[in-house]
């Protein structure tokens, strides 16, 4: 967002210069006469600067932790930043576009592995978002009407979401162990579905394991949002459709789902962004040594930066990733808006 960042400092500067005025009109120190004179002179401005003063702490923090780092991140993608320059990163030599050229050179090793990681991340995102959404919608649907046990079941369903990420993923790590894990015990010794114990955390299986863990963690959020969306559907819509003879099934497809469109619009975008950026699930599940089949982009960039110690590549890759996310969002939002408007 280059446009936004340029306007940001203005607000800070504007708020900073007016700071003394705020002190004098709030503090009880100065004499009454003094204060009333100040009030007179600055009444107009005072009303104007209040919102900026209220925003000041948030703006400063956003600048320090989000905006400035992002600008620096983009700048790093144009320099040769290796470990030797880390203490004096201002002196690192420029690289021009070479970091980008190497990152998108799909015949070279760096580019090929980046492309591979991108494909894996896309597949992972589609699988995880689709399953999380479907499970969430179906669960919200069957819990839509009051019945015995509804409250406790709903609370129980939300536990994976409330659980700290690392705790939840560590449990799965234990479950997916080849020799001592619960999954193989269940599949091999209890259900006799497979004869020799598969490795769930190695090879291609690692991809599915990561996806299942991510779905387990994420579907309750879809459930939560869809439930809230269902509550806002007016009851008379259902009454009207049941007068027309629609049963539970028909109502779901012809009333509930179309009415959920505004919620789904936001929900799917959030799920997409979170899943595409996912770092935590593979990082904890594989104890920091992620197999190639679960090499999501965040992990890929992380290991390129902090294990290979070449930050220029890492930065160039994260900028490319950001551009991709911006592109998808820019295409998705107008499309989703148009579709939802045509319905309502």
């Amino acid at each position: 967002m280059p446009v936004d960042t340029t306007t940001e400092p203005d607000e800070v500067a504007g708020a900073d210069t007016t700071r003394p005025r705020r002190r004098s009109s709030w503090s009880r120190g100065p004499s009454r006469k003094w204060r009333s004179r100040w009030r007179w002179q600055s009444r107009l401005n005072w009303a104007k600067i209040t919102p900026y003063l209220l925003l000041l702490p948030a703006v400063l923090l956003e600048l320090l932790v989000h905006i400035v780092p992002m600008v620096i991140g983009i700048w790093i993608s144009f320099i040769k930043l290796t470990q030797e320059y880390i203490q004096h990163w201002g002196q690192a030599p420029t690289a021009g576009l070479s970091n980008y050229r190497i990152a998108v050179d799909f015949s070279g090793p760096v580019g090929r592995s980046l492309l591979e990681s991108f494909k894996i991340t896309c597949l992972y995102t589609v699988v995880v978002v689709a399953f999380s959404w479907v499970i969430g919608v179906v669960a919200a649907w069957v819990l839509q009407r009051p019945f015995f046990g509804r409250g406790p079941i709903r609370t129980l369903f939300l536990v994976p979401y409330a659980l700290p990420i690392f705790a939840g993923v560590i449990i799965w790590n234990f479950m997916l162990q080849r020799d001592s894990g619960a999954i193989n015990e269940l599949l091999v010794n209890n259900l006799h579905l497979v004869h020799h114990r598969p490795f769930w955390l190695l090879g291609n299986n690692a991809f599915f394991s990561t996806a299942v863990v991510a779905i387990w963690r994420q579907w309750p959020f879809a459930f939560l949002m869809v439930m809230a969306g269902m509550q806002s559907i007016p009851n008379d819509v259902y009454e009207a459709s049941s007068l027309d003879g629609a049963g539970s099934w028909a109502q779901f497809f012809h009333v509930t789902l179309p009415m959920l469109r505004p919620v789904n619009r936001v929900l799917l975008l959030m799920l997409f962004l979170w899943t595409f950026n996912d770092f935590n699930t593979p990082f904890v599940l594989f104890n920091n040594s992620v197999p190639p089949s679960a090499d999501l982009m965040s992990i890929h960039i992380y290991s390129n930066s902090f294990q290979v110690w070449n930050f220029g590549y890492g930065a160039a890759m994260s900028v490319l990733m950001l551009l991709f996310l911006l592109l998808v969002t820019a295409i998705y939002l107008p499309l989703a808006n148009r579709r939802s408007r045509s319905v309502t």
């Binding site: 306007t7 932790v65 991140g73 609370t155 369903f157 705790a167 619960a182 193989n184 015990e185 770092f279």
Partner: protein
């Protein structure tokens, strides 16, 4: 939907049982394994659905295998301080956004919200470098300390907190503010005496969200901390040694670090859900 067909009722319970198994299986395994003796979980022993004998030893041993208490204290300090400050900062910002019409309002809200979509990995290294520079120029050490992590978390939860809280404040009638203004209250007076008491559920929701998010954060904690400032999210990985993993202790620790968060979420469920979903449903 006056009647539900029998087929729908059957379908409902099939769905509930299936999803319930998927959801609860890991939770059951965490609970039951935390009461197992080490021989039940050491490598070579296959998984047991019930311990050979129940023991609470893991709950004592887990404190000695890794410096769990240190991690716990770090997590509590970092998350509490970050939550308190983020709530305060978010209240001011949300109040400005919901009650004032000023130049740059849209720019502020869109910028802040769009930072939510950026990959965390993009900020990680630059933020680290900024902290290194601050250390080099002022001597203030922000990396590998709790302070740096607090500042990071505090800001990370801000966008969503401001958004949630602003949505909540929109729902509080402006007539209340105006009445107080007529009585001579200042902007801050209105905020603290009128708006905030009415927005308490929203504030609670933001606080729970901020605490939960900070408690579970891994990416920045993995780079910004070292031995003495490590939080639970990183420290818990220390249970895996070359010889094998003390899975019973890991499960006991996982249960312990989850309990306060899950309990808080359950107790304040109503507020949190309303807060989380208010923006999307509007």
């Amino acid at each position: 939907m006056s009647r539900e067909s029998t087929s729908f009722r059957v379908f409902r319970w099939v769905v509930i049982v299936l999803i319930g198994l998927f959801t609860l299986l890991p939770l059951y395994i965490m609970l039951i394994s935390s009461f197992k003796p080490l021989s039940d979980v050491s490598s070579g022993a296959s998984f047991r659905w019930w311990p050979s004998h129940l023991t609470i030893r893991p709950y004592f041993d887990m404190w000695n295998t890794i410096p769990l208490a240190t991690y716990f204290v770090n997590s509590i300090i970092v998350c509490t301080v970050a939550t308190v400050f983020s709530v305060i900062v978010a209240i001011f910002a949300a109040y400005a956004v919901s009650r004032y019409n000023f130049r740059g309002r849209r720019v502020f809200t869109t910028t802040v919200l769009s930072t939510q979509m950026f990959p965390g990995i993009l900020f990680l290294l630059p933020l680290f470098l900024i902290f290194v520079s601050i250390h080099n120029t002022t001597g203030l050490q922000l990396y590998q300390t709790r302070t740096g992590l607090i500042i990071t978390y505090l800001t990370f939860v801000l966008p969503f907190s401001i958004w949630m809280l602003a949505g909540y404040l929109e729902g509080i009638p402006r007539e209340l503010d105006e009445a107080a203004r007529v009585d001579g209250a200042t902007a801050l007076g209105v905020l603290f005496r009128v708006v905030l008491p009415a927005a308490r559920p929203g504030v609670i929701a933001v606080a729970v969200y901020a605490f939960m998010t900070s408690w579970g954060e891994i990416l920045f904690a993995s780079v910004m901390t070292n031995g003495s400032s490590e939080t639970l999210a990183i420290g818990l990985q220390g249970y895996s040694t070359q010889l094998g993993v003390y899975w019973n202790q890991v499960m006991a620790a996982a249960l312990l670090v989850s309990l306060p968060i899950v309990a808080a979420f359950m107790l304040l469920q109503r507020y949190v859900i309303a807060g989380l979903t208010s923006g999307a449903v509007k």
